[in-house]
Homo-oligomer: 318 residues x 2
Amino acid sequence: MPGNLPAHVTLVGAGVIGRGWIRVFARHGVAVTVHDPDPAQIDRTLDWLERDLAADVTAGFVSAEARTKMLGCTRGEADLARALAVADYVQESAPEKLEVKRALFADLDRLTPAEAILASSTSALDIGEIARGLAGERRCVMAHPFNPPHLLPAVEMLGAAGTDPAALTKACAILSACGQIPVRMTRYVKGFLGNRIQAAVVREALHLLESGVADAVAIDAVIRDALALRWATIGNFGANHTNADEGITQYFGRYEPSFATLMNDLDSAPPRFDPSLLRAVGLAVEAREGVTGVDALIRRRDVMLTELRQLKHRHDQG
Amino acid sequence: MPGNLPAHVTLVGAGVIGRGWIRVFARHGVAVTVHDPDPAQIDRTLDWLERDLAADVTAGFVSAEARTKMLGCTRGEADLARALAVADYVQESAPEKLEVKRALFADLDRLTPAEAILASSTSALDIGEIARGLAGERRCVMAHPFNPPHLLPAVEMLGAAGTDPAALTKACAILSACGQIPVRMTRYVKGFLGNRIQAAVVREALHLLESGVADAVAIDAVIRDALALRWATIGNFGANHTNADEGITQYFGRYEPSFATLMNDLDSAPPRFDPSLLRAVGLAVEAREGVTGVDALIRRRDVMLTELRQLKHRHDQG
């Protein structure tokens, strides 16, 4: 949907999430302005962009021409008013504090052209609370990405009570045009969809570890080398649908008692998050993946994610 | 570890799991004998093997020569004693009923050479219960695969109380030599590792669906197009380790209160498993993946899983 590409996107907040958004838009030739209240953070983010693109050129993921083009359409701007003056779409990725986001959205509403979409990357707050009472509430939406945004296409989408449905539809169309997969929710719940499901996995994985049923590499292997492979190709419901000859209805019809027993056996309390155990987990993960340090693990992740997106793209998935 | 390849494997039970095991062993040139108490089931399974290999030849995943070799080293045998007479390793994939498996393991113990490994694919039962009191308890192990076994390498491993640790080590070495990833547990828990984690995901996904927070395709998208991509490349603990500059200890140190709040908000009761809702989910999944029927979805899954395993293999993962 190239017709839905915005001419000018402004990113407000240049941390780990904000920097990933640069690549989402710049790879489609969209002019991207990066703002952060800390000018040094803008510089660090533009440095990261150069290094990350250079590594991708070396890996053969990005051509030298595409790299030049992406760098050419991205600029930093320390002045908020100037950063917002010509935006068609604003993606806010500030700290997760309601008062910070409310104040910032008031600025966005005041300083952008009247028809610009104002989207929040919030991973925890209710867009209804962030946008409530703004003159431009009708154009405010939640667009919560996963980390890293340019390699994980799903984006959770929700409007505030006063959001114009057309604005939400337009935000979804813009993100689709940029290769993302907008995921619409009907209402706010704590953690949205993805962080709830992730919390369920983290809770059970840490319970199994803390109770000594298996070590961290073993627990992670059933995810990395089994469950997640099915989920990454056909989703959880897709995997359920392939597990009985007549599909998901037959599957749960047959195994509902086993599932119910197992679900009732899962520990619903949070795990202990024991720091000494977690330290050992981090080292075991690095040893398993053959890397030293978090940065090297992130690069390994991103290389594999890039190839995995290419694989999925060949099969009409994003 | 080709030195650990067994000369002769016997598969007892030729259903969906048993048939996947054929390919695990036959692709390494191991002689595979397939037994099922129902001779017609043996025929259906060998027919499936031919069709599945033919499709893989067409897709370019398997050479015509490799296909011929795999078919050449696989044979059906309706007589249990004859099927077991020369086995070095037996993989049992019978129905999940304790008395069925106990009786079968008594037969396996009686009819196999004394040094053969006797492994159960059980997904629910305790190998300690299955093997208890057998003369050959020392050589009995659980080796629980994921479906399909030849495309998902992780295999959960556990011995009975009387299992010789050397037998468990040998079973792990045999499976590693065949390209699987043995995952050792220290004791029996309901659902082992993988089905517990899967139950946690299914429970939350169905709760979100049944409470109307989003539709099935949206809920599945945060898994298929975000969370599972990270998990499939670096696991859950790996993903946690990349989410803070200083790794997993810092990550959970910082977000423990948010995680605890969210975990306490998850509904711990089983979902309703509403059949009419599930029927709609199955249809939505098929429409999303561009297929009609479960068989076509399974083929799509297996094509993508084959490519995903090739991707992971290039990065030293299985």
